[in-house]
């Protein structure tokens, strides 16, 4: 399956990755090649086969609902690129 430049720009927007023009073209070629290789899957009959999301069939793992000391807020904020007192600082999301 060959992707168009528009396809690549659309995927980049969904993935929130800013790509330069030459990156878009390189990505288009490479992703198209990889997707072509994936077409072999279409030939495999999977009618009525349930999907596997994980291989170890554990479900509903529970533990006692006991409170614990959380990670320290100051420790967490120490790694933040931009902060304001006890908060992460971000740009306005709405105009």
């Amino acid at each position: 399956m060959a992707l168009s430049t528009e396809d690549v720009r659309h995927i980049a927007t969904l993935a929130r990755i800013d790509l330069a023009d030459d990156e878009v073209e390189r990505m288009r070629e490479q992703l198209s090649g990889i997707l072509e290789h994936f077409e072999t899957l279409a030939a495999i009959d999977t009618e009525g086969v349930a999907p596997t999301a994980q291989t170890f069939d554990l479900t509903n793992v529970e533990r006692e609902d006991a409170s614990r000391e959380p990670a320290g807020r100051d420790d967490v904020l120490r790694n933040a690129p931009r902060k304001d007192g006890p908060y992460f600082r971000v740009r306005a999301v709405l105009d």
């Binding site: 995927i11 086969v49 999907p51 790694n79």
Partner: protein
Amino acid sequence: MTEPAFPPIDLEVPAHEHAKRLRAGDYTARALAEATLARAHAQEPALHAYIAFTDHEALAQADEADARLASGDAGPLTGIPIAIKDLISTRGVPTTAGSRMLDGFTPIIDATVTARLRTAGAVLVGKANLDEFAMGSSTEHSAFGPTRNPWDLERVPGGSSGGSAATVAARGVPLALGTDTGGSIRQPAALCGILGLKPTYGRVSRFGVVAFASSLEQVGPFGLDAEDVGNLLGAIAGLDECDSTTAPMPVPDYAAGLERGLEGLRVGVPDALFAQGLEPGVAAAVEEAIVVIEANGATVTRGVELPTASAALPVYYLIAPSEASANLARYDGVKYGFSDLDGPSSVEEMSRTRGRGFGDEVKRRIMLGTYALSAGYYDAYYRKAQQVRTLIRGEFETAFGQYDLILTPTTPGVAFRLGEKTDDPLAMYLNDLFTIPANIAGIPAISMPCGFSEGLPVGLQLMARPFEEETLLRAAHGYAAVTDWHLRRPPPADQAGERP
């Protein structure tokens, strides 16, 4: 110049031998840590196996280990130097994932495996180099520059855990931890001529490990023999309430059953799975290994059918990037790491942060995963891949009804040259052809040295039923008892004149 008070420490021996000598008082954990650090530092200009050394922490941990050794409270890893892949969180020590995206990030927690190594008394000498976010098969995708293969410095060590494999192979450190999502422990172990084991999915906690593909990856050991690999696995394995995918089964003493060796094991060889693209020298080494295995008590059956397993590669390169695109959504420039604060809006800042912070391969995989999960393509790609995953898993289950082990080469070829495959992502992905099925099926697998081709190491892969790591280890031990491939070592990387 004064004579050293003690004879120099032999750094060529496996960890269990160091443990014995530490207990006997032949040398201290501090002396071992100093000697190990000196060698690893001296090799670094040639190999670049590390992103950071942790000398200060190592010496403090060594002193603690000496206190435990003196009080008789020492286990097999107490005082043993170890390298940790820099995808695994170390409290207070920066963890980069091989990416610019984590610039300035210092974990506020230890990964569970790190905490367990501390409890065991191991001595952390450094954070090993890797492909960015563990995405790659050569360690060339590290934002900190490539690691080189100690057997030939113009060649790659494999990846993504290339730093871990290279430093153990060069005897820079006796043990290392890696992670394996599609072969990232076994492939570099093969290319560097050492042992590497990917545990059963759920055997080892992933808590505190930078997430790439959550349904596929496991942390696992590198070492020079089966006993070392087993001891390290035993130290990190087991239930962890911080990772709800860990298995509640008890952790066996992996070193205990090694002497059973190959006797009575039924080995199946899926010849059709590795028929295509196999280098002749690799094929010859594997054929020879099969003869040895059969001559030493195992039954070998050729032509085992795993027809859908050959589709594991496209299944992997749909599932892993899809999971990655979700896992790596957390890198938004807000909470930690690299941030481009110059965008005109919040969304622009995020896109620019990700566009500049991620390397090419990571962007490629996020894009691939985003596409596979996007509206209109989900059924054709992601769901289809998960259905084929069910079929592959079923084929292995059937095969393991008849065989205790499935044997293949670890890789189609020996270590390739730096730069040889960086411009062709698909050629790079084909390196993982034989290792990926074990991740898809969630089963344990080991790679061990089985010969040489073109002067470079060849790896033999064995896969076993879920939670039967013991079978892999006894087979590896039995094979090593009658061969000496695991004892071959590369030329010293710290003496430029002695390279071939």
